[in-house]
């Protein structure tokens, strides 16, 4: 018997209203179910509404049409059951790495000795030991994102929302961070919704890849990509190569369409 889904996105439509110009249908009756401890990637061309869907699940944007339920309850705003990591880190620049990681724990009302220890544990987990007293302005992009991940993991959200978290990093750092994320996720499984436009990244990290269509955003197909991710030769693995190829073919049309609507 299939266990009930932890996150249910039920016929969500969303209008994007730019400050100037016409409103755009960003999401059109999107439905999606995510099981507990599942790693799902939302993949699609830019402007397909994948980040919008993530923000709706996070409770940052108001749900206008349809419903989103997390553990059976309708989402009505942000909450510490859903942690988020943004592309541009969103660290508090006036706080040190330690201060940033402590912030969520303070808001949860964790006693001081306990939260100090927990903050250090998570700073260590992401490999930032020795940088706990540095300010974000003193860190490289990859280190900033490690700090942001530590900050979000530390307050132990059941669900981790990631909005193109490695999109602002150089290729080498991105590869390393993908490995790190997989390691952390395997050691402490959580439900992850990971927004990306990178096909390889999606196939490498996720159990399932939801391919979205260009505007208006819909979920076109969901591809199963669950296999042994610890294969040291994973990028030559036949299954991996086939999946990347399959998904790339699905995305290609949408990407071309997205280009077309933009130049039109």
């Amino acid at each position: 018997m299939q266990e009930p889904a932890q996150i249910v996105v039920d016929h969500i439509s969303h209008l994007y209203r730019p400050p100037r110009g016409r409103e755009v249908l960003a999401l059109d009756a999107v439905s999606l179910e995510v099981r507990q401890s599942e790693f799902i990637a939302l993949l699609g061309p830019s402007g397909c509404g994948k980040s919008t869907l993530l923000y709706l699940i996070g409770g940052f944007l108001p749900v206008e049409k349809g419903e989103i339920r997390v553990d059976g309850k309708a989402v009505a705003g942000p909450g510490p059951d859903r942690g988020i990591v943004f592309q541009h880190f969103a660290l508090f620049p006036w706080k040190t790495v330690r201060g940033n990681v402590l912030y969520g724990l303070e808001r949860q009302g964790m006693p001081k000795p306990e939260r100090e220890k927990r903050a250090m544990d998570f700073i260590e987990l992401v490999g930032l030991h020795g940088f706990e007293d540095s300010y974000p302005s003193q860190l490289s992009g990859g280190m900033k994102q490690r700090a942001a991940i530590a900050r979000t993991l530390a307050f132990d959200p059941k669900i981790l929302l990631m909005d193109e978290p490695f999109g602002a990093l150089d290729a080498q750092t991105r590869g390393l961070m993908q490995m790190e994320l997989l390691r952390i996720w395997q050691s402490r499984p959580k439900t992850v919704i990971f927004v990306t436009h990178d096909v390889q990244e999606a196939v490498y990290l996720a159990d399932r890849v939801a391919v979205m269509s260009a505007r208006p955003g819909r979920i076109k197909t969901i591809v199963d990509t669950k296999f042994d991710k610890n294969d040291p030769d994973i990028f030559k693995n036949k299954f991996f190569v086939e999946k990347v190829d399959e998904i790339w073919n699905l995305v290609k049309d949408e990407a071309i369409k997205a280009q077309g609507t933009r130049s039109a």
Binding site: G58, F60, I84, A90, F92, W94, S137, F155
Partner: protein, 249 residues
């Protein structure tokens, strides 16, 4: 030490030229009394207590007016950035008030609050509130959406976000606005005291000038200049410490 000396060497040269110009009769000594006479007058005024008495009332006015403007201006600016209705209500008032030369309000504040401290404090408060409000508003408006969202997802209430994210984010712009206000407070203080006052630097400059004691008058002008400079330097040092997180890289 030597660096500081070299930095301020031009001032020393200026002092020497000043002294020579007056002593050698290049300019009339009523227009520019010799610097050494000015210093002597300054020491005299310091010992007979006149300088301290007037400094005390001027500083009281500045601290009162500036302090009020910082507190109220910050609250107004951040409220305008955070709550749309407050912005709709206050933005046009701030816009209209912004270009008004605040010295034009000197007679108005006197009619309202008389010749004493009250009218000076009110004038400094009104004038300084403008740059503080605008600094707080611009700083708070620039607060990043993703930072606000991050804090909310970590369990911070909306009010908490205002204090924890919007305020520190607004700090660089706000501190800049306060620096402008600090300079403005000296301008408004002296001009209002020059026109109507019985105490303070402006009063002293005015009455000494009218009485022909030019060396003493210059001594007071230099005192105000030095205090303004010192206040700005101290303020900058405080700012640098507060914003240490930003400078580091």
């Amino acid at each position: 030490m030597t660096k500081t000396f070299i930095r301020y060497l031009p001032l020393l040269l200026l002092a020497v030229v000043w002294e020579m110009a007056a002593r050698l009769g290049w300019v009339s000594s009523t227009a520019l009394p010799p610097l050494t006479d000015v210093v002597r007058a300054w020491v005299d005024m310091l010992f007979d207590g006149e300088l301290l008495r007037n400094s005390a009332s001027s500083l009281y006015r500045i601290i009162g007016g500036l302090g009020l403007s910082i507190v109220i201006g910050t609250v107004l600016g951040i409220s305008m950035a955070w709550w749309k209705p407050v912005n709709v209500l206050l933005a046009p008032i701030v816009e209209i008030f912004y270009p008004v030369p605040k010295s034009a309000l000197i007679p108005v504040t006197v009619i309202w609050l008389g010749y004493g401290d009250g009218s000076k404090i009110l004038l400094i408060f009104l004038g300084c509130m403008v740059p503080v409000t605008i600094g707080a508003f611009n700083g708070a408006r620039a607060s990043e959406q993703v930072m606000v969202w991050s804090a909310r997802s970590m369990g911070a209430s909306k009010l908490r976000v205002l204090w924890d994210v919007v305020m520190p984010g607004a700090m660089p712009e706000l501190l800049n606005g306060i620096r402008t206000a600090l300079a403005l407070s000296f301008i408004l203080l002296v001009s209002s005291e020059l026109i109507v006052a019985q105490k303070g630097f402006g009063y002293l400059i005015g009455s000494l000038g009218a009485g022909g004691s030019y060396d003493a008058m210059y001594a007071v002008v230099l005192t105000v200049a030095f205090l303004g400079f010192a206040a700005d330097r101290i303020y900058l040092a405080i700012t640098r410490r507060t914003l240490a997180w930003r400078a580091m890289s």
